[in-house]
């Protein structure tokens, strides 16, 4: 366990983000209306620097290091999740720069908030202490509320922000109560201490109840059923670039925190009490997963707003990801197997590319045509061939069709849950397959509208050079990771070595 000074070497990317936040805020106070480009450049540069540092192996230890007196842990999992958060944040700033939904006067503050929020997410993935865990969650939460309400003149945006605040406060209250129960049992906020006490005294019944309450709070972050109600309204109300950000980053952070919590409390434990707890949690999370994907997909079927449709689709994807979390029994016992947890990370990386790509197309359509209704996408295949073709790639990847990356992600997830080898997981896999099938209906509807329907308006819809470049940059991994996902498997191997 390292002291504060020695720990600094393990939070360098977060440090870079902190400097970026300060820099962007300072720059933003001068003539905010004229410096949109400068602010975007500063934000992107900060994110890119942190990303480059992480990719270069900075603050990326080979083993596991407990830093800051055990408040956070630094390991490969933190590092690879940093990549996800930073990439999402960076792309969000690029999207927002080209979108007219974010007022120029707010642009600097928005950039700073995204950077700060990414920093909070990094801490969510690293938290090894109940206090730190809650603090990081709230950090991300409070910034999200502000980001959701950025379009002040738009009633829906304000409503979205308010809904987000109320749901967020309630769910984090529940999570906090669960954490306080754990603290009450252990007399210590450190998860290692909590684990030691729980192993000594057995997990039932208070430990289980506390965990369920914490998971309820995290379920809100992940937008899992039944904590998903806020999701469609917030996604629809928030500015589209922010929606893109919400649909990937906080969700990924919620999953990172869940995986971390499960590993710190249950990873490698033995004893009968732990085993029954693990199976109980697996069934619980598996049921939530089934409910989440089914509700998400069925609700998406009848949506006419593409943003709302993608909101429900992101709920459904949370359900797929939860299948991987449900493999908790595998991480317990003398030879823990983290395949399911790695599948979650693997899927998140792919989800990042395909989902951000889809949202970028929506951003451009909303900016150009002023509507995110499905009918606005009519004839996009002719009006903007590049956007339509890459959108089709992203959507088919979201369905999970080869040779796109979405297929590789689903393949890994199904592999992970089928290797659990119990009847419950077979049922879970069948439900997952049935849901992939249902999802084709609504994704294909957008594709149909883009390519098969005729629009009365046939004027071209220019995407803009920057967006075109970013779209292609997002489309390449969406295809490439479908036919060559070996490197991504290696990267996922860093999740709990």
């Amino acid at each position: 366990m390292l002291g504060n000074g020695a720990s600094l070497a393990y939070v360098i990317p977060e440090g870079i983000l902190g400097v970026t936040v300060a820099l962007v805020m300072a720059l933003g106070s001068f003539k905010p209306t004229r410096t949109r480009g400068v602010l975007a450049a500063a934000g992107i540069a900060g994110m890119a620097a942190a990303l480059a540092a992480t990719a270069a192996g900075v603050s990326w230890p080979d083993g596991t290091v407990l830093a800051f007196h055990g408040n956070i842990v630094s390991d490969g999992m933190v590092a690879v999740f940093r990549l996800v958060f930073l990439l999402t944040g960076l792309l969000t700033i690029v999207f927002a720069y080209g979108s007219d939904e974010v007022d120029t006067r707010d642009f600097g503050d928005m950039t700073a908030m995204i950077a700060a929020s990414v920093m909070g997410m990094c801490f969510m993935a690293a938290a090894a202490d109940l206090l730190m865990m809650y603090l990081a969650m709230e950090f991300v939460g409070i910034l999200s509320y502000v980001l959701a309400g950025l379009k002040r003149e738009d009633q829906r945006s304000s409503e979205a922000a308010l809904k987000y605040v109320i749901f967020g406060a309630a769910s984090s209250g529940v999570a906090l109560f669960g954490m306080s129960l754990l603290y009450g049992i252990a007399g210590d906020t450190s998860l290692a201490a909590v684990r030691a006490v729980l192993v000594g005294h057995g997990f039932e019944p208070l430990g289980l109840m506390a965990l369920v309450m914490i998971l309820a709070g995290l379920g809100y972050k992940m937008a899992a059923v039944p904590f998903h109600m806020w999701c469609p309204d917030v996604y629809q109300g928030a500015p589209t670039p922010i929606t893109a950000f919400f649909s990937v980053a906080p969700k990924a952070a919620g999953f990172a925190l869940t995986l971390r919590l499960m590993d710190l409390l249950l990873g490698g434990i033995d004893g009968d009490a732990g085993a029954s707890l693990g199976h109980g949690l697996a069934v619980l999370i598996g049921l939530v997963s089934m409910a989440t994907m089914t509700v998400g997909n069925l609700s998406a079927l009848k949506q006419t707003s593409v943003k709302r449709l993608l909101a429900y689709s992101s709920i459904a994807h949370a359900g797929y990801l939860l299948m991987g979390v449900a493999t908790i029994p595998a991480i317990m016992g003398p030879s823990p197997d983290y395949t399911g947890f790695r599948a979650v990370f693997f899927y998140l990386v792919i989800y990042l590319f395909m989902n951000l790509g889809a949202f970028l197309v929506v951003t451009r359509v909303v900016t150009r045509l002023g509507s995110d209704d499905v009918s606005a996408f009519r004839s996009l295949g002719r009006r903007s061939p590049l956007a339509a073709v890459v959108m089709a790639i992203f959507l088919f990847s979201l369905v999970g069709l080869p040779p796109t990356a979405g297929f590789a992600g689903k393949f890994y997830l199904f592999y992970a849950i089928l290797s659990q080898g119990s009847a419950f997981f077979y049922i879970l896999a069948l439900v997952g397959v049935a849901n992939s099938f249902i999802s084709l209906f609504y994704y294909a509807r957008i594709v149909r509208v883009m390519f098969l329907d005729k629009s009365p308006d046939t004027r071209p819809v220019p995407v803009g050079a920057l967006a075109a470049v970013v779209l292609v940059i997002l489309a390449i991994p969406t295809i490439l990771f479908g036919i060559w996902f070996g490197p991504l498997v290696d990267l996922a191997g860093w999740v709990f070595i």
């Binding site: 069709l401 393949f411 592999y415 089928l418 290797s419 397959v433 084709l440 149909r448 060559w484």
Partner: protein
């Protein structure tokens, strides 16, 4: 001589598609020429495969079952093999190769795809702009030719892939181009037909995916280590050959084996399409443009029966024997039901579509016999049906181009106006009903010969299919070609143009030659099919 010939055959259309996609718009006129040139590459390579294929090579099953997994493709009866590790983390390999089961399909794919591209050429400028003509593509040529070439890559890949993962990727790869080809260039109800095709096939293939992943995890347990192409060993494998020849299925309870068999079978049966999964086919055919119909009937349907022969038969032999009766029964239902439906059709194209369902029933029946004649007949029928049905759809396209409708009651007396056309129609449809001297007869006769030894009742019932086929074919000829002309302007119809000649003649030659002398194709397959039959029958003991 070209090395890596199967890889080139699979991916050269993809290269052509990429060229077409990235060429600037001012080369618009040349897209179709690039497409046809690209499609000619696999065809030329197919000739090389045909000439160099060793027809006597078969796997020595007894030796393989007792031996450790090896990397020698000839031990497994495979030729033209390319084998490298693709994604190491999951032991996924790029493993392509052919044996006697797949070589007729590879040749058929190369041929039919080339003809389909050629059949998409627009010969005359359209009189009415953007009329929903079904032959000759005049709008969005870039997308059309790129997609049809991509489709060829997918189809070819399915027939050469010997790694489960690779197989699945190709299997799904062909879905998307097909969806767009029907959905964009199709007829009035194209959206419905396209999504129906997509959903049916996806439902089946997702079940197949579960089965594949399950087999990867559990199917290889307890079999020690498998060799990968790079010489390293692995605990799990996607290699179909190892599953077929190096595992002996003690790992799996019979129940699980049956479940896996059924999962695979449903995925393939939807593609065949086997009753009751057939309803997507008439819709897809009626709406698809001519060239796409040609590919759909000529190649895509065979992927279903090919998959059963490639996966269900060698990997689950005892389950296959268990299900043989059901397969024969479904084959019989297909034959009779398809023929009855064909009789009732008013639309020329749906008639051909239902006749396809009927003819694919012969394949199922022949396959389920486990006799040399029956198996040979089944695969020969796959090849013959590919050529004959392609001709039939091309011929429907010819008349649709001129009359802009396909109502069987709306013609009459065309024999006088278009004698050459009538001749080709007669040839194709008589081949379809199994007239001796044409290729359809040989394969149907072989199927009956083989199946009669195993499934007597089913075979006798199926024979009525031939009579019914005579019924709908002759009645169709009567309605369309004999009697008085229904409309005056039909007298102005021109006979075949050069494109129609060019697409029909090669197929007609094959139909006639194989009708007299089927040995060139039969020789390709019979040794491998014999070995496959022995492998399955060995499970009964």
């Amino acid at each position: 001589m070209v090395d890596h010939v199967l890889t080139w055959m699979t991916f050269s259309p993809l290269i052509g598609a990429a060229i077409i996609v990235f060429l600037p718009g001012r080369f618009k006129e040349s897209f179709k020429y690039i497409a046809v040139a690209t499609a000619a590459v696999p065809l030329l390579l197919a000739v090389q495969v045909f000439l160099n294929f060793d027809t006597h090579l078969v796997p020595d099953i007894a030796a393989l079952k007792s031996a450790a997994p090896s990397l020698d493709p000839r031990a497994y009866g495979l030729q033209f093999v390319d084998h490298i590790v693709w994604i190491k983390a999951f032991n996924i390999e790029y493993f392509v190769g052919i044996d006697g089961v797949s070589v007729p399909m590879v040749l058929l794919t190369a041929l039919v795809s080339f003809i389909a591209v050629l059949a998409s050429f627009l010969v005359k400028k359209p009189v009415e702009p953007l009329h929903n003509s079904q032959a000759g593509i005049k709008v969005k040529e870039r997308g059309y030719y790129a997609l049809i070439l991509l489709l060829e890559t997918g189809m070819m890949g399915v027939f050469v892939a010997l790694d489960f993962f690779l197989f699945y990727v190709f299997w799904e790869l062909m879905l998307l181009p097909m969806y767009f080809l029907i959905g964009i260039w199709g007829g009035p109800r194209k959206e419905y037909a396209a999504i129906k095709f997509f959903l049916y096939t996806l439902a089946g293939s997702l079940l197949m995916l579960l089965a594949i992943v399950y087999m990867y995890i559990y199917g290889t347990a307890g079999h020690g280590e498998f060799l990968l192409a790079d010489g390293t060993t692995a605990d799990h494998t996607f290699n179909m050959m190892y599953f077929a020849y190096n595992t002996n299925f003690e790992w799996v309870s019979f129940i699980t084996g049956k479940m896996l068999w059924v999962l695979f079978f449903i995925g393939f049966a939807i593609k065949i399409p086997m009753f009751p999964f057939h309803t997507w086919l008439p819709d897809a055919h009626v709406e698809a443009p001519t060239a796409v119909s040609v590919i759909l009937a000529g190649v895509l349907l065979k992927m279903g029966t090919y998959g059963i022969l490639r996966i269900n038969y060698p990997i689950f032999p005892s389950e296959t024997l268990w299900a043989a009766g059901a397969m024969a029964a479904f084959g019989t239902i297909n034959i009779v039901y398809g023929a009855f439906c064909a009789m009732a059709q008013k639309d020329f194209k749906s008639l051909v579509a239902y006749s396809s369902i009927s003819h694919m029933g012969f394949v199922l029946l022949g396959m389920s016999s486990f006799t040399q004649e029956g198996m040979n007949g089944a695969v020969l029928q796959m090849f013959n049906h590919g050529t004959i049905t392609s001709m039939m759809f091309l011929l429907v396209g010819v008349i649709y181009d001129r009359a802009h409708h396909r109502d069987l009651e709306g013609f009459g007396g065309l024999a006088k106006v278009m004698p050459i056309y009538t001749g080709f129609v007669g040839l194709a449809f008589l081949a379809a009903l199994g007239l001796p001297g044409l290729s359809g007869f040989i394969s149907e006769a072989l199927v009956f010969l083989g199946a009669f030894q195993t499934h007597r009742v089913a075979t006798i019932i199926s024979m009525s299919g031939v009579i019914l086929a005579a019924g709908y074919v002759l009645w169709m000829i009567h309605r369309v070609f004999l009697g008085p002309l229904k409309k005056e302007e039909y007298a102005q119809f021109a006979d075949l143009n050069w494109r129609e000649w060019a697409t029909l003649v090669p197929l007609a030659i094959i139909v006639i030659v194989l009708g007299f002398y089927p040995m060139p194709v039969l020789n390709l397959m019979s040794a491998s099919l014999g070995a496959l039959k022995d492998l399955v029958l060995a499970a009964a003991m």
